[in-house]
């Protein structure tokens, strides 16, 4: 019994910590290294807006002065200045595009890298407890959705704030009293934003969940396609997919329905405020304000709402992005259940003595999967672990690699408690062949070399020869350079097991763990493999889990596991003499053969 998954594709994930200011601060940490570039960009944009403002002034000059006075030279000069201003704007724009895309994409890249790096530290249980599509969507798609906020949003925010200040400054300098009225819209706008915010937050959280569900379902559908076709489930799955896809569609429309409310709100509040200013301003004419001043003032008041609307937009973008950010940071905050202790040391080169000392372990606290397990393996010994399925055989070898931490007792290698050494130094000295042979996309050569990245081609081929994989690889058109992928196209399960075996062997480990390593390999190949391995295994401690008795008979020691405990322990001959569980297992195997 193993730790079982909590989440499936059609269940929204619960959120541990919703978005808060701390998240925003963490985002700013990523932006901080670029503060100089951001400042430069802001300055460039200010120059550009200055150059932009000259335009209307030049036109006004031309129409009011140069043309009526038929001054062709003056007109030409104005046109010349205008052209220079255009060139300056163009150059500024070039810089802005360059800077913004650099900053935006660098931040995205760094966030994604941190997220991925953290993901590498997370334990099996994290990967086992949710559909893989839901992890994928966070690393790839969610991070991508921040791109717009980070590239355009941030810099626009700074420049908009700046122009807002300038405009307010102008307005105050013209008439402070009117300027205060001009800001009467602020509290109303703040209130409306407050009203919309909660609904919008919920809508986008819901949307990110639905996106995650959709991704999970697509991902699983691709990986399980062979089962789907074999079981003629296509029509049923299309219906499910339509449901999940429709969930995404509906939540999208719900989200934009709320989000789009912001702009009408800003525009209507702005027109109301402007009307108020006109009414008050007109009544104030001759009574604290001149006609000229009022005209100038109302000229600014329209300009005043443009940056404000942009800031509203930015706020919108933050609200939307927070639905993704909170998920990204949630994953970054996920604590690995297995990690190096603070004072963990490197495990020195080991000889391979393994000792389990009253080990107690449960995947979940309520269940005990291993109870008081104790045994010793000397360097170079081969330990076979047998017993019914689900008895705890895989659990024992999983604990040895410290994929899980034990509840009580101790596991020692060469007398060193494995919890006191770094995980990397421990696992590097072990070669593990897992039950599910996983093949990475790439060449066969790459897949075997995964065991030891600096191995030469010759060493890879040697390992393949040792595990009897060489003959079939050689038969492929491109031999070791044949491209394979995750689903191991065209390779049989047995062939994938052989590759995975070669990979484990290439790591040149002192401790070799073979978990059903040969279950799909034929007896002939297996025997040849065993002969070839004898010398290779001589100075390694190996653990073999298998059901085929021919595989285990020659082990130095056989452990019979049932119900999480070692029921019997000894060599094949000892256990047979004992006439206990192993004997029963062994003879029942043969008794089924009526021919004997």
């Amino acid at each position: 019994m193993n730790l079982l998954a909590r989440n499936k594709f059609n269940v929204d994930e619960e959120l541990e910590t919703p978005f808060n200011m701390a998240h925003l601060k963490r985002l700013l940490v990523y932006v901080k290294p670029f503060k100089t570039q951001i400042m430069i960009t802001v300055i460039i944009m200010l120059i550009a807006s200055g150059a932009n403002l000259i335009g209307p002034y030049l036109i006004k000059q031309a129409i009011d002065k140069e043309i009526p006075s038929k001054n062709i030279a003056g007109l030409a000069i104005l046109a010349g200045i205008y052209l220079v201003a255009l060139i300056i704007t163009g150059i500024c724009m070039k810089f802005r595009i360059r800077m913004m895309s650099r900053i935006g994409h660098s931040v995205i890249k760094n966030i994604r890298k941190d997220l991925f790096t953290h993901l590498q530290n997370l334990s099996f249980s994290f990967f086992d407890s949710r559909p893989h599509g839901k992890i994928l969507v966070r690393v790839v798609n969610y991070v991508n959705s921040l791109s717009d906020l980070l590239s355009n949003g941030l810099i626009n925010l700074i420049t908009d704030l700046f122009s807002l200040l300038v405009i307010v400054g102008f307005m105050v300098s013209i008439n402070a009293k009117l300027a205060i009225f001009a800001m009467a819209g602020f509290p109303i706008l703040a209130f409306v934003i407050f009203l919309i915010k909660n609904a919008q937050r919920k809508a986008w959280q819901n949307l990110s969940n639905k996106q995650s569900n959709l991704n999970a379902y697509i991902h699983e559908s691709i990986n399980g396609i062979k089962i789907t076709q074999a079981f003629v489930r296509e029509e049923e799955n299309k219906k499910i997919f339509d449901g999940v896809s429709n969930g995404y569609k509906t939540s999208w429309l719900k989200a934009v329905r709320v989000q789009f409310l912001l702009w009408p709100a800003i525009e209507n509040i702005s027109v109301l405020t402007v009307s108020l200013i006109y009414v008050i301003g007109v009544s104030m004419i001759g009574n604290g304000i001149t006609v000229g001043a009022l005209v100038a003032f109302v000229g600014y008041i329209w300009m005043f709402w443009t940056p404000l609307a942009n800031i509203g937009n930015f706020y919108n973008a933050i609200i939307n992005a927070s639905a993704y950010l909170e998920r990204i940071f949630e994953m970054m905050d996920e604590q690995p259940t297995i990690s190096d202790r603070p004072n963990a040391k490197e495990l020195p080169m080991i000889k391979g003595a393994v000792e389990f000392d009253h080990v107690v372990f449960g995947y979940e606290s309520s269940v005990r999967n291993l109870n008081q397990v104790s045994f010793r393996a000397n360097p170079g010994e081969t330990i076979a672990i047998v017993g019914p399925t689900g008895a705890g055989k895989t659990t024992i070898v999983n604990l040895l690699s410290r994929f899980y931490d034990i509840e009580s007792g101790e596991i020692r290698i060469d007398g060193i408690n494995i919890e006191t050494v770094t995980i990397a130094s421990l696992r590097k000295q072990m070669g593990v062949m897992l039950q599910d042979p996983f093949i990475f996309s790439g060449t066969i050569m790459d897949n075997i070399r995964y065991g030891r990245l600096d191995a030469s081609d010759e060493e890879v081929i040697e390992a393949a020869i040792a595990v009897q994989a060489h003959p079939f690889i050689n038969q492929l058109k491109q031999g070791y350079y044949t491209e394979v992928n995750e689903r191991g196209s065209m390779l049989s399960n047995g062939q994938r097991q052989l590759l995975s075996f070669a990979r484990a062997l290439l790591a040149d480990p002192k401790i070799l763990i073979l978990d059903e390593a040969t279950s799909s390999i034929d007896t002939e190949t297996e025997l040849a493999l065993q002969k070839g391995l004898e010398t290779l295994l001589a100075d390694r401690t190996s653990f073999i889990i298998a059901h085929r008795l021919s595989t285990i008979q020659n082990a130095s020691k056989i452990l019979y596991i049932d119900k999480g405990m070692i029921q019997e322990e000894g060599t094949h001959d000892e256990l047979i003499r004992r006439r206990g569980l192993y004997w029963k297992l062994y003879t029942s195997h043969y008794s089924s053969l009526k021919v004997i």
Binding site: M93, I218, F241, Y278, D436, K477
Partner: protein, 580 residues
């Protein structure tokens, strides 16, 4: 254009709504001019003209127009969003449909991450295009045409002079669209690679940890992550080359207007009032040109993605559906008639001939990679034979309706895949409407009921993707229950009990024997104990049948089979049996 035509098939359905929406866009563009105009009137009539009473009327109009405009705008925005979501929904549905129908050879050569990229990133680019870009293009084009028409009506020579700049703008816009297109293709291809590298890292996390290769994985990921940034920046480089030029050229229109307009006024062929009118409209030429660059980007991004999506939709399955259906179940007699098969890399199967009658069990044994799984995959028509024929129920498998053919079969594949669903859901996968009793019966037959009962949540326990969390033997038994629940005429067990202990395997075999009436059963295995009871044992080697017969016959042939038997049982001491 090909992509546009393809997208149009989906959009066409909403033609009327789209036209209505675009009309609303026009209305809003017109209303957009109201506020500046009214503001001007306030300055002229109310402030300078001292007609204070008109203020209320003008303000009323201003507020009224704004309310109307924002409502209409909100309306058409939602309308375009709704249309685009419907379009995307249909496209996604078709894509999924296609994915369900594509054959094994497609999945053998295509990475999961690549398909994921099409279903996510590419769909997003298409969504953006239909929800936003289409009406933005329309809005800009209509504003431009409107302004040009109006200008022509005022003064033809000046309008022509201003428009003289547009061929240059057109030239740069064209160059932009040419240069930027490949960069978007590269971005989306790199996005697919990024997807693949992360996807494989997640799927293979156990191997990564077992080999302590986290650093290598980070390096591998960083390469793709950095490349993704680089491709994006490469695209930005094209933008920074052309967008400022387009932006400045838009301003040049104004310069041309004031210079030639000025000359014309001075020479008397244009009035100053007309020039002012041109000036007040010049934004309607400038803005569309400024937006053109960004819109071209959007269009090219759309095309790059649409091409990939369309390519997937056009991928043909090599397995063509037959059209023969019958009212009752297919009879389970099977004939392989000189079957040859190749994956394209030498012959995987050669000259395979045998027959099986209902009630019989055919066992297949042989070295790794000898073609055992391939043989049963051909029976389910996951691949088509290269030569020869396979007959089920007296008919070539190619003639049968695929669904009916596969419905008659229950298969347990070698590589067990479970879905992240409850155990009940997994067992009932082939028969979603099965009752709980039926699910439990199948689980009992597969010897899975006991361990499921021991799980804290029993049949409601959710197992992870690929069944992580269960031992190999447990997964195999759930997969067996899944196949048995279908109560199929043809049962195919590909290495199904390799991770199950002997005693359990024996019990499973007894159960299978008791329910076998009228069924044909294929068993692929390596253990003699799994195959010895079969009516016919085929020994495969290098894609050929090298021995055939029953257990007894094969033992007396003293060939490969008897050799395997010797290896598995040869050194067994019969006396140990005493006391059993």
């Amino acid at each position: 254009m090909q992509s546009m035509r393809w997208a149009w098939q989906y959009i066409r359905k909403y033609k009327i709504r789209m036209i209505f929406g675009l009309a609303l866009v026009l209305l809003v563009s017109a209303l957009n001019m109201a506020n500046p105009y009214l503001a001007g009137r306030i300055v002229d009539d109310v402030i300078y003209g001292e007609d204070r009473n008109r203020l209320w009327l003008i303000l009323g109009l201003m507020i009224g127009f704004t309310v109307l405009r924002t409502i209409v705008r909100y309306g058409y925005q939602l309308m375009f969003e709704s249309i685009s979501q419907k379009v995307i929904f249909k496209m996604r549905e078709h894509l999924f449909d296609r994915l369900m129908g594509l054959d094994f050879s497609f999945y053998d050569r295509t990475k999961t991450g690549e398909i994921m990229a099409r279903m996510t990133g590419d769909m997003e680019a298409i969504r953006h295009f239909t929800a936003w870009t289409i009406y933005m293009i329309f809005e800009n084009v209509t504003i431009f045409i409107f302004a040009v028409t109006f200008m022509f009506s005022v003064h033809v020579p000046l309008t022509l002079a201003i428009l003289a700049v547009t061929p240059i703008i057109g030239f740069f816009a064209f160059r932009l669209s040419q240069d930027v297109k490949p960069t978007f293709t590269e971005i989306r291809n790199q996005f697919a690679k990024l997807n693949s590298v992360v996807q494989e890292n997640i799927s293979g996390n156990r191997v990564v940890k077992a080999f302590a290769k986290e650093h290598y994985e980070i390096e591998k990921f960083s390469n793709e992550n950095n490349a993704f940034m680089a491709k994006n920046l490469q695209s930005a480089k094209i933008w920074e080359k052309y967008l400022p030029v387009l932006d400045s050229l838009a301003g040049v229109l104004t310069v041309v207007m004031i210079l030639t307009g000025g000359f014309m006024v001075i020479s008397g062929s244009l009035t100053i009032g007309e020039l002012v009118m041109f000036n007040s409209l010049i934004w309607a030429l400038n803005n569309p040109i400024r937006s053109a660059g960004w819109l071209i980007n959007d269009v090219q991004r759309f095309i790059a993605s649409a091409e990939k999506v369309e390519e997937l939709l056009l991928t043909k399955s090599q397995i063509k559906n037959g059209n023969h259906r019958i009212g009752q179940e297919i009879e389970a007699d099977i004939e392989f008639d000189h079957v040859y098969f190749s994956y394209g890399n030498g012959l995987a199967l050669a000259d395979i001939s045998f027959t099986a009658k209902p009630g019989q069990t055919i066992a297949i044994i042989g070295p790794t990679g000898s073609g055992k799984s391939t043989l049963v995959h051909l029976l389910s028509r996951f691949y088509d034979v290269t030569d020869g024929a396979i007959k089920v129920g007296g008919r070539d498998v190619k003639e049968w309706d695929l669904h009916q053919l596969r419905s008659s079969m229950g298969m347990v594949m070698q590589d067990i895949f479970l879905f992240s669903d409850t155990i009940e859901g997994n067992i009932a996968y082939g028969k979603p409407d099965a009752s709980m009793e039926a699910v439990q019966l199948a689980a009992r037959q597969a010897e899975a009921n006991d361990f499921i009962g021991m799980l804290p949540e029993g049949y409601d326990t959710i197992v992870g993707e690929r069944g992580v969390g269960l031992s190999g033997g447990q997964k195999q038994r759930i997969a067996l229950a899944r196949a048995l629940l279908k109560d199929p005429k043809i049962l195919i067990l590909d290495d199904t009990t390799s991770s199950v202990d002997m005693e359990t395997e024996e019990r499973i075999q007894k159960t299978l024997n008791s329910i076998q009436e009228g069924k044909t059963c294929f068993i692929i295995a390596h253990r003699i104990s799994s195959v010895k009871e079969a009516d016919l044992i085929l020994v495969l080697n290098n894609g050929r049948i090298i021995e055939r017969g029953t257990h007894g016959e094969l033992l007396s042939q003293k060939g490969y089979y008897s050799h395997v038997f010797q290896n598995q049982y040869g050194n067994f001491d019969i006396h140990l049996m005493a006391g059993m």
